[in-house]
């Protein structure tokens, strides 16, 4: 009975976490009155772009791997 209660309470907490009123900030990503890109600016050199993309991708991958590990635990 106690286990059943705890399970129910956990479910209720999950629902509460999903529905509780939170303040978020999803304003448009650019300035309210958007500044331009620089027409003279050029993309970074391919090598550094690839390296940076690699780092970024590794970052995302690491997050997901970390989460999986946590889930397994």
């Amino acid at each position: 009975m106690k286990g059943h209660y705890r399970k129910k309470s956990k479910k209720a907490l999950q629902v509460a976490c999903l529905s509780t009123c939170l303040v978020t900030a999803w304003a448009a990503p650019n300035y309210a009155c958007g500044p331009s890109g620089d027409p003279c600016a050029v993309p970074e050199p391919a090598s550094s772009t690839l390296a940076a993309v690699g780092v970024a991708a590794a970052g995302v991958a690491a997050i997901f791997v970390h989460k999986k590990t946590l889930r397994k635990q």
Binding site: A16, L18, W26, P35, G37, P39, A41, V53, V60
Partner: protein, 392 residues
């Protein structure tokens, strides 16, 4: 020998000009200021700082004024500065090093775009092509947002030289809200003239559409954005984008109702292009995070927000287009906290919100969310997890 000419054009810039000219004191062999019709003390101030002052009648064309200024310069190199910018201390050594290269035609330098004059720590960085050899083949075109024509890469290639990057850093406060609207209104008129002179230019179409939208002329803005998007249709399968301005176009399109898309473009196309062509464009990642959040995919939204925050710490985002730094800072952290709480990760969410309590932009929102967590803890008897004691 005149090695470095610092050039700028100005009109009614008596407030900003002293800061700009002071910042380049001691590094320029000559300073050239072209006054395009000031009615204040701009020309007088420039002369006081030892600049050569020239006058050029304004003709609705920034490139014409810039090219006139270049014609007055005698240096081997030019550092182009705007009156609302300043060269940051610490750039001198890098500047000296850059001028010594005999392999480079022009350099991109870093510009910090402030959103508030009182917050020097709140900015996004952009590449700006500002240091270049004084060469008759490097001349500007475009009534606003001047660009080199022919493109600088083609000119460099033809001369057996390259276009480099440098850590020389400028600070710019021309996008703070107080001055932005009037700048946009002036820009709109010049964009219309430019597109009248040379119709169909992709860069200017995108800029025109965005400016209309920023000035809340939505109907016309969406129509122009859709017109620019038509130029994407033939290149959708290309491996690389033909212009960095595609990123802000995608940003606009992703916020457009799908029934307004031009034929051949769907929401999936736009999401695919964003990931394939601009994996580090912070505004596009932000829109993706929002979509995931709105769809209830909180784990995915969390991953993207963490990536944005990491990019913000390292300034490792795509620096070809400017954006609101809040999306790699406080706003991202607030939303990350929300994602974590939606997944039931109270402790982690709480840490995010506590980290914002001193924020002057999101402090009150963070406080409100912490109160919400406090209520949940009370209602469900959930205690904080104590940090594990460290052994050894």
């Amino acid at each position: 020998m005149v090695r470095l000419s610092v050039c700028l054009i100005a009109r009614n810039e008596e407030q900003n000009l002293p800061r700009a000219l002071k910042s380049i004191g001691g590094i320029a062999d000559e300073v050239i200021v072209t006054d395009t019709g000031s009615t204040d003390a701009t020309a007088h101030i420039a002369a006081q700082f030892g600049a050569q002052v020239h006058h050029f009648p304004w003709c609705d064309d920034f490139s014409a004024a810039r090219n006139f200024t270049l014609d007055q310069a005698r240096g081997q190199w030019v550092l182009w500065l705007d009156a609302d910018e300043e060269l940051l201390p610490g750039s001198d050594e890098e500047l000296t090093r850059s001028l010594e290269s005999d392999q480079v035609l022009a350099y991109n330098v870093i510009r910090q775009d402030l959103v508030r004059s009182d917050r020097l720590d709140l900015y996004a960085q952009m590449w700006q092509l500002r240091l270049f050899r004084l060469d008759p083949d490097l001349r500007f075109r475009g009534r606003c947002h001047p660009q080199f024509f022919p493109p600088v890469h083609e000119t460099a290639k033809g001369k057996g030289l390259s276009v480099g990057t440098s850590t020389i850093t400028l600070r710019h406060d021309g996008y703070v809200p107080a001055v932005l609207r009037s700048k946009l209104e002036r820009g709109l008129r010049l964009l219309e003239l430019e597109l009248h002179d040379r119709p169909g230019q992709f860069y200017y179409l995108v800029e025109y559409g965005r400016t209309l939208l920023a000035l809340e002329n939505d109907e016309r803005g969406w129509a122009v954005v859709a017109e620019a998007a038509e130029q994407l249709v033939p290149v959708l399968n290309h491996r690389t984008p033909f212009s960095s301005m595609i990123a802000p176009l995608l940003e606009c399109l992703l916020q457009l109702p799908e029934d307004r898309f031009p034929p051949g473009i769907t929401m999936n196309t736009l999401l695919d292009l964003s990931e394939r062509w601009f994996p580090r464009a912070a505004p596009l990642l932000w829109i993706r995070a929002k979509r995931e959040f709105d769809n209830g995919s909180f784990e995915e939204a969390e991953g993207v927000l963490r990536l944005l925050l990491e990019m913000g710490r390292a300034h490792s985002y795509d620096r070809s287009v400017s954006f609101n730094p809040a999306i790699i800072g406080d706003d991202a952290l607030l939303n990350l906290g929300a994602c974590l709480l939606r997944q039931g990760k109270m402790d982690e969410a709480e840490r995010c919100f506590k980290g914002l309590l001193k924020s002057d932009t999101r402090g009150s929102e963070a406080r409100s969310n912490l109160d919400a967590i406090g209520r949940l803890r009370r209602d469900f008897g959930v205690r904080r997890t104590r940090p594990k004691a460290k052994h050894g």
